[in-house]
């Protein structure tokens, strides 16, 4: 279970944010609210890109608030710029996997599951924005971290493609008992995912 316990965060001369919630393994939580309400800030705090002034974050009771981003049980798919421009799609995935990972077929399987098979050896500039996001999602899933953060990762996709991604996401979250936080502006996303919602307000 992901526990976000009374987190307090404020940047200099800006709004203050407080968060307090829990999320079960295998569940999906849609974070919603208008612009500037702190949706991305919440993900940054969980991922370790920002440090809270008070409170703590834990996974299955183990506090990881003081850990750097690379030691946390977290993987993130950002809104854009998820891929390294000079690496092929396959290299973009392999570089983020531990050296002990020895299953090249799993990468191909991930591409197949998300409907982007055949793009493995292309550069990011040679595929569409939506396809890039799906490559990033394949990588996030293969990294096998228990918490997945999606920061408006699919907002650029057309609705049928987005539905396809959500289907894959739902089944994988359940199979692997992942906790998924998804920031979205679109009401349809949470309705389709039929998931819990966290509505943030200023």
């Amino acid at each position: 279970m992901l526990e976000v316990k009374n987190i307090y965060f404020q940047r200099e001369n800006q709004h203050e944010f407080t968060y307090d919630f829990t999320l079960e393994a295998g569940a999906i939580l849609a974070v919603q609210g208008p612009s500037g309400v702190g949706k991305t800030t919440l993900l940054d705090l969980i991922a370790g890109f920002e440090a809270p002034q008070r409170g703590g974050i834990a996974w299955h009771g183990q506090d990881f608030t003081s850990l750097p981003p690379w030691e946390r049980p977290i993987t993130t798919v950002f809104q854009n710029d998820n891929l390294f421009a000079h690496l092929t799609c396959r290299q973009n995935i392999e570089i983020a996997l531990p050296s002990s990972f020895k299953d090249p077929q799993a990468v191909d399987e991930g591409f197949r599951q998300l409907g982007i098979d055949g793009l493995q050896n292309r550069l990011p500039a040679e595929i569409s924005g939506g396809q890039q996001q799906r490559v990033a999602l394949v990588r996030a899933l293969l990294r096998d971290k228990p918490v997945l953060l999606l920061d408006e990762s699919f907002s650029a996709l057309d609705w049928p493609t987005r539905q396809g991604c959500f289907d894959a996401l739902q089944s994988l979250a359940k199979d692997r008992a992942m906790a998924v936080l998804i920031v979205s502006h679109d009401e349809r996303d949470s309705t389709y995912l039929d998931c819990e919602r966290l509505a943030l307000t200023i």
């Binding site: 316990k5 009374n6 370790g48 409170g55 030691e71 710029d81 690496l87 570089i95």
Partner: protein, 543 residues
């Protein structure tokens, strides 16, 4: 709710040990520059200006140096602005693309080669004189003098300005072009409302940079100046040191030079614009404007581009025509040629590699310290210092510093490599620093989130992503070093020569044919060196 005091991390913990290496390097650069300057100041004596050389002489030399540099910078700008506008309007035409693509060439071209080419076209026995005489007219007057120096400075610097100005025009949002087209603005209105505001921002910095380049011009003035009346501070320092053996005077002149250059570097720091070093974005589609395809506008553009192509390509053509042939066969039989060529390549590769390594280390430190929220002005100043401390000033300082403790002529190869590396450093740094900062912005979170750190990040992410810039920076630094004739003029001897120095000496012996042949070889070597760096870097990027 638990209170969580933020762990206090030192700057070095946040920025990493790589930043520490950069700061240490910046400290070394400061120390070296100040040691050279201190040596100059200690060697400076008021008595230097007595004994035949009056204070008026120094004032005259300083005044002329300022005058020719200012005039060269303004003339280069006046040439570059219309060419940049024409290139931008005709961006789909092959000649406009070719001009912008090869605009780097005069900048990396050895100045001795440029001078040889210009003499081949505009000299009393050059192409133009040949044509005039064929029509029964008098040949051109000798090129030597202020006119020749100005012509050479425009030849070398107008393309550099063209590069920056087209970059500034590329930065204009497409919507502005579209609006101007919808409103039916004419060329003059468009220039006033859209083009001028974009290029105006880069002009002060550009003028200061070109002024600095012309102010510290050495070999062109030596080859085209034509006598004591047309001499600059750089040439006077060289004369005082190598011919008059007047060390105090050389030191005094160096201090004058240093003072003025420092002032210009300060101006340069205030006016920052798009980097001259970046590749111009002429491939971004710019919608054609109303009136662009009208006959008068097309004719004017065609004429401007043709004239500029003539200015740039005729000297190269003259070199090839005069240099390729029996003279090359003669030159490649000289033992001195092989010694000079090997020395040149060795020094160019060494100083190019060192300049790139130092620039990379400093740029890395700058980026990491910026992320850690630490001021980075010190790093920038450590590099910009070597724009102010020109090669001849640095060389003179090192000469004075080392002559008491070592044989400077024995150490010449190492000193020339070091000085060339330091002179190329600001340019290499400028190429790398902006790109690295941009990469940090887009890669930091991603790499941290994915756990790609340290050596892995450097090897698989940073170096491949920056390969084009690294190749460009090292190619540029090597090419600048290969063409240098300043430091070698101080430390060179019969035993230790480089190709530019051999070319100068050949020309001084009035062996124009062999000089042209040497210039062709030097030009080819420069291009091979420059492009091979770029190609190797691309290969590395592909992995």
């Amino acid at each position: 709710m638990a209170n969580r005091p933020q762990p206090v991390k030192s700057v070095w913990q946040v920025a990493g040990t790589g930043a520490l290496a950069g700061v240490a390097l910046a400290g070394t650069l400061f120390a070296l520059a100040f040691a050279a300057i201190a040596a100059l100041l200690m060697a400076t004596q008021a008595s230097a200006i007595t004994g035949g050389l009056s204070f008026n002489y120094i004032l005259h030399v300083t005044g002329f140096t300022l005058f020719q540099a200012l005039l060269s910078a303004v003339l280069s700008l006046l040439v570059a602005i219309p060419v940049a506008l024409s290139c931008w309007r005709r961006q789909r035409q092959w000649n406009a693309r070719l001009l912008v693509t090869v605009s780097f060439l005069p900048f990396v071209m050895p100045t001795t080669v440029a001078a040889t080419g210009l003499i081949g076209v505009w000299g009393q026995k050059g192409f133009v004189s040949d044509i005039l005489q064929a029509f029964g007219m008098a040949p051109l007057p000798p090129i030597y003098g202020l006119g020749g120096v100005l012509l050479a400075h425009v030849f070398l610097n107008a393309p550099l300005m063209l590069r920056v100005l087209t970059g500034a025009l590329a930065g204009i949002p497409t919507s502005q072009w579209r609006l101007s087209s919808q409103w039916g603005l004419g060329p003059l209105q468009r220039f006033h409302l859209i083009e001028w505001p974009a290029i105006r921002r880069v002009i002060p910095g550009l003028l200061a940079l070109v002024f600095l380049v012309c102010f510290t011009s050495f070999s062109l003035v030596l080859m085209l100046g034509g006598g004591p009346s047309v001499t600059t501070l750089e040439v006077s320092i060289y004369t005082a040191l190598r011919f008059d053996f007047n060390l105090p005077l050389a030191a005094l002149l160096s201090c004058f030079q240093l003072g003025i250059c420092s002032l210009v570097v300060l101006i340069l720091a205030v006016f920052t614009g798009p980097s001259w070093a970046s590749l111009p974005d002429l491939y971004r589609a710019c919608p054609e404007q109303l009136g662009d395809s009208s006959l008068p506008v097309k004719s004017v553009d065609g004429l401007i581009l043709a004239l500029f192509c003539g200015l740039i390509f005729l000297p190269l053509l003259a070199l090839l025509v005069r240099g390729i042939g029996p003279h090359i066969v003669s030159v490649i039989q000289w033992p001195a040629f092989y010694r000079a060529a090997l020395n040149s390549i060795f020094i160019a590769l060494g100083s190019g590699f060192l300049a790139t390594l130092c620039a990379f280390t400093l740029a890395h430190a700058r980026t990491r310290l910026t992320v850690a929220g630490t001021p980075v002005a010190g790093l920038d100043i450590a590099v910009s210092l070597y724009l102010a401390v020109s090669a001849i000033v640095l060389g003179t300082g090192l000469f004075i510093l080392l002559r008491g403790i070592a044989d400077v002529f024995f150490m010449a190869p190492a000193l020339v490599m070091l000085a060339n590396m330091l002179v190329a450093l600001p340019f290499a740094y400028r190429v790398l620093e902006g790109r690295m900062a941009g990469l940090a912005k887009s890669h930091d979170r991603l790499c941290d989130g994915l756990g790609i750190r340290g050596w892995r990040r450097l090897r698989y992410i940073t170096l491949p992503a920056m390969a084009p810039e690294i190749g460009y920076a090292s190619g540029l630094a090597s090419a600048l070093s290969l063409g240098d004739m300043t430091v070698i003029a101080l430390f060179g001897s019969q035993q230790f020569q480089t190709l530019p120095w051999l070319l100068y000496q050949t020309m001084a012996r009035y062996r124009a044919g062999e000089a042209a042949a040497l210039a062709v070889i030097l030009l080819i070597l420069t291009l091979v060196l420059f492009t091979s760096h770029t190609l190797i870097a691309r290969r590395f990027r592909r992995g």
